[in-house]
Every structure is written in structure tokens, then in C-alpha cells.
Symmetry: D2
Subunit: 208 residues, 4 copies
């Protein structure tokens, strides 16, 4: 395992380390560790615990930042760009493959909802942890898989998404949440389909 | 603005829309909007406000998920990979260019801290909003700028970062927070430099 | 309504007020009100909203502070003092008469649990408001009704109770909460009955 | 210590206890304790930790519920009832004697503010605990000391107070908080003094 243990290079390294410790006793790792623990580590007590109420459906909803502008910069097809929607789905798949406690996801336009089962103990139900990991993986996946759907269309800058966590105590509440998003999808689709047909086929411009 | 307003295509669209509304009065946009507002929108009341205490330094700390494995999968140079550190810095720059209330950032290894000025009213100081936007932009930037630093080295999958927000009431507390991170950097560097020199030059293996 | 509007006393008061305002223009109510609103009222923004998650059973549990000592100072009968328990019940009745959304209460020894119905919108579900009002009324009632149960036994000082709010999403969770308290009652009763019988009838002393 | 250990009464008690345990093995204390711990105690995990941010001034503000009505029911003298104010002060003294980390209190009318020093670790800075204990002791003291100030005037029912906790990160913020309350006192006093003089000496009635 260690044939050259006594070779020259290693001895030099060891000597240099020894010199460092002897010359700078106050800056040695041991001292630093102790200092870090005793003098500064109190700042950790300012981190507030944010464990979420048990036995509630836990929904993480992600929403694109400024995607109206983002979509026109990248010439998304209107009213719906198949590539953009498939990319959203691909990012969602990445999240679902990572977090097995997600039982259902639902997306529309530039938003996505992830439903964790009520009993999940992922990250000990710490809100910030769940929120940030899910949102981060979604965001990096969106960029990572961009080329698989947009091919030659260059991504002109890193997009970002906000995220929130909402708790729903009962199955009825969760169903109503999903209905709320679904109705929103329907309204937006109806409006966008009509609006863009008026623009594209009716010869109107999209200036308000 | 609207020269072809009365052309045939547009009339057809209009007729189809009219038919839709007349045939499916219960599914018309108006009805849906009303339904969404009256019946399901109560679910929005389950979103809990998370405004952060005013007049405190607001630190967002980001931390890579499983970067030990991530770094060996991508053959990061040890103890420090210049490309990886520069990429972290590049992602941090993207965040700082977007959020002007960040007055200071500090990174080491796979973590980064962003300090918002005490008076910031960005997103009305809503915790989830700040946390998720900063973390999302950092994550997508990491993937977006990867090729600028790693060139031929292919990114093998979307990485992710967790994030937390910590409030510090006084300048002293903030300074101690930064000292805490800096001492941590120093300790890790000293340890890693020694450890990897033992491995690389001393002929030891990195099995524990 | 105002027969003596012009009488002498009133004029004097009016004159004095006028003098006050003219002499101390900077301290006049108008100025103060403006000052209070413009300069200091920002401190109200430091009050953090604490609205509780909707559609959950809301339990306020109250617990006596140092009642072991309190009970021996007032020579409570052991193992159970009927007067003390009836006084606890009387204070609970006062709370229930005031808060109609309490559907069930359960007490034992020096603790009491109040269950608000899931849909309650009392005080807009603000946690501090509910917690403090319930606990305050219970505490003041305990003192107010003391003499009705303890007659000649003088209350030797103001007792105090802590309180906490716990949310339970489902009926099962609430039932288990109540079972938890009930089993606790049973254990304590069995233990206390045995312990005090050993003391009182067995001739043991209560020094451990 | 135990002269009658073997007397008859004690043996009977012991026998009865033994019978109870033998006859009802499933209801024995041991079983109950185990049951309580294993089956129901999970409900404790629904209690959310509410530790307050360290190094901030911690203000508990108490406010009387419906004291407009309360004061007229007990015929408080207008504009200020010396007895009522002294009773408020007495209750505040009780609180300050109990909680040594309170460095300053300020009261007016039916409200009182208690300022805990920034470094306080009382009850491990748990918000509900601090809020409820302070408010409870104040409330019970108000009733307990009533007769010392109102003598023959009978207290017609238990009063109650709400309470909230507000954190102030800096000394300036705290000073502004106190100024805010002080200006409020001044405004109210000026208004009340004038108003009640108009009523009492001017012959107006207090119907709006």
C-alpha cells in the first residue's frame, strides 16, 4: 500500500509541514479548529430550525423568473412551444428520479408543482433543505438538458426559478390545489390560443 | 395597425371561439376564471408568509450536494481544482450582477455565502423568494458557464446545491460569521494540501 | 345635549388647551401624531406575522409553572385535591364560554388542553393572539375563582401557566393527542394514588 | 423514618395494588407507560420549535382585551385612574421580580412592554414559553393585587390580555420602539385630558 513511504519527496513535504506547524504554532490546524469551534462557531446558533408540520401533503411549486421576456428572447413558438414544455418535463423528471417521495408532479407554462407524500421524512422535513435542493436540481437540469430539445437554438443566459413550499393537511385540500393549477392552465391556454391566433392569423400586432 | 382585421382567417378564428363559448358555456374562460377564483383559490391561503426580520444582515449560504463524488467523477485536480473554483466564482458573479443588494460574497470549495445589506427590501424580504432565486441562478449558472472553464471535460449530469438563509443582527456577528467560514477554508486547505501531498508525492493511497 | 357649552369652566379648559398648543407648538398632538406615524412607526414592521396553517385542529395546551411547590405551599390534598381540580375546570369553563370555537377541553392535574375546530378563523388564526388570550383568561380566572373553591385558604401569590399551540392535520392525529394525554393522566393517577397511600397509610415519609 | 412499615393498613394497600396489577396486567402502569411512549407520543413531533433569533432585544408587549368596556364597568376615573395605573405597575413589578433578564418596562393605559436583554437565554429563547409565562403572570397578578388598589370596588370578572413578542436587532431600533410607545402615551393623554375635561367640566356627554 505504501511502498515509497520513505522516499525523498514525501520527506520534504513532511518536513515542510512540520516547519509550518513549529514556526506558526498559533496558526496550526489544531489551533484553528479549536478557534473555529470556540470563538466563531456560535454563529451557527443563528440558524433557525424550519421543520415542517408532519402528516401534511408537501407541495414545492417552481415558477420561472421573467419567462415572458425569456421566451421571446429565445423565440418560443406561440401559443405553446413544444420544445420548451418538453424541456420543463425533462427537468421535472430529473427531480422525480432523485426524490422518490414525490408522488405526483404537474406543470404548465414555466411553472411546476411537486407533491411529496404526507409521511416523507426527506431531510428531516426541513423546509429550506427541501425547497433549495428541488429548485436547484430543476434549474440546473433546465440548462443541462436545453440542447436536447432546442438543438441549434443557443441558450442566451442562465434562467432562474423561484420556489415555495405549501402544506396541505387533507387529500381534499391537495385535490383542490391541483384543480386550481389545472383550471389556471385551461384559462391560460384558452386565452393564449385565442390571443396568438388573433395575432398570427388575424394580422393584429401584440402591442397591447 | 390592423389592416386585415376583417379578413377571412381571422373571422374563422373568431367564429370558432364564439362557437366554443356558446356550445360549452360552462367551460368558457369566464366561467373558469370565476370557478378558479371562487372554488379553488382558497388554497392560496395555505401559503404562509415568511418575511424576514428587518435591519439584519441577511446571508444566503449555498452548498454543493455530494460534491465529493461529483469532483472525483469529473477528475477535479487535488487539493484544489483551479477550474472548479473559477466556475464557482463565475456563478457567484452572475448572482451578484443580478442582486445589487449583495454587498459581499465569500466562497470556498463547493460553498458560497452571499451577504445582502441590512436594509434590503428585495422581494419584500420574503425568505423563500430570496433563497430560491439566489440558489436557482447560482445552480443554472454553474451549468451554463461549465464549458467556459472545463472546455472538453463533459459535465456528466446536473449538479445541485442546497441553500439556507441566516440573519445576523450586528456587524460583529457578521464579521464572526465570515471569520468562521474563513477559518474553515484555512483548516480544509491545510488538511487537503497535506493529505493530497501524502497521496500524490508520498505514494499513499486515498483509501482511509 | 350641551346646555352649558359656553359656561366659564369650559372656557377656561379651552383657553388652557389653546395656550398649550400655542406655547408648545412642537409638542402639540398634531405634531406628535405625525411624528409617531412618520418617524417611529416603522418599528411595527418588525412584528412578524404568525398565521397558523388552515384546516388543522388547533390545540392550546396550558401547564402550571412550578405547581409541585405551589400545591404543597397551599396544602393540596394528596393524591388529588378536589378543590384544585374543580378550580382548573372552572377556569377552563371561563375560556370555553369566551371562545365558542373550542369544541373540546381536557384537563389533568395542572394542565389543560383546548381544541379549536379546524375551520376556526378566530383572530385570523394568528398564533400569538390565540395563545396569549386563552392563557391569559385561564390564568386570571384561576385567581378570580380561587376563593369559590378554596374558601378560607388564602392564595399566597399569583400563579402562572405556560402555553403552547400545536396543530394536528387529521382527526386521527387529534385522537392520538387526546389518548396521549389520557394515558398520561392514568399513569400519574396510578402512581400518585399508590405513592400517597404508601405515605399516608403505610407511614412512609415523602422524602425520596 | 418508617416505624409502621409493617402495620396492617399498609399491607392492605400493598395487597390491593398487587391485585390491581395481577388482575389488570394490560392496564398496569408499566404497560401504559410503554403504550404512551410507543403509540401516542409521536404527537409531540407536531410541536414546532420557535427559538428566537439570538442577539436581538426581545420585547413582550401586553395589551388589555376590551379595556374600554372594562374601565367603564368598573367606573375608572377619567382621564386617568390612579388605582388602575398603579395596579398595572404592580403586575409589571411581579413580572420583573420573576424575570431578571428584563432590563426595562414601560406601561401606559392598559398596555405594558417588557424588554429582555439581548443575550437572554431564558427558556432557551423559546418564543411561546417566554410569551405565555410573562403574560400569564401579568394577568394573574392583575387579579391577585386588584383589592390592594381598588379596595371595596369589586372585580366583576376575570380580565384578559393579549401579548406579542417583537425582536429589535439594534439599540436604535429599541429606542425608537420606546419613543413610539411614549409618543403614543403623550397623544392619548393629551386627547383624553382634553376630551374628559370637555365632558366633565364643559358639560358635554360622551356620546360621540
Amino acid at each position: 500500500m505504501c511502498q515509497h513511504f520513505h522516499n525523498l519527496t514525501f520527506l520534504k513535504v513532511l518536513m515542510r509541514l512540520l516547519q509550518h506547524i513549529l514556526k506558526n504554532p498559533l496558526k496550526s490546524a489544531f489551533y484553528l479548529q479549536k478557534m473555529a469551534k470556540s470563538k466563531y462557531e456560535y454563529v451557527k446558533t443563528f440558524e433557525i430550525e424550519d421543520r415542517l408540520l408532519p402528516n401534511c401533503w408537501l407541495v414545492v411549486r417552481i415558477d420561472g423568473k421573467g419567462f415572458h421576456k425569456f421566451s421571446s428572447k429565445h423565440s418560443f413558438e406561440k401559443p405553446n412551444d413544444r420544445r420548451a414544455l418538453q424541456l420543463m418535463n425533462r427537468a421535472a423528471v430529473a427531480v422525480m428520479l432523485e426524490y422518490k417521495d414525490i408522488v405526483l408532479s404537474y406543470g404548465e407554462s414555466d411553472e411546476y408543482s411537486f407533491v411529496f407524500r404526507k409521511e416523507t421524512e426527506v431531510y428531516n422535513r426541513r423546509g429550506s433543505k427541501i425547497l433549495s435542493y428541488v429548485n436547484s436540481l430543476f434549474s440546473s437540469s433546465y440548462v443541462y438538458y436545453w440542447k436536447d430539445y432546442f438543438h441549434d437554438v443557443k441558450l442566451l443566459g442562465p434562467p432562474s426559478f423561484d420556489a415555495r413550499i405549501v402544506l396541505y393537511p387533507t387529500d381534499n385540500n391537495l385535490r383542490d390545489y391541483l384543480s386550481w393549477r389545472q383550471v389556471d392552465t385551461h384559462i391560460n391556454n384558452l386565452y393564449n390560443t385565442t390571443f396568438w391566433n388573433l395575432i398570427q392569423k388575424g394580422g393584429l400586432t401584440n402591442s397591447k
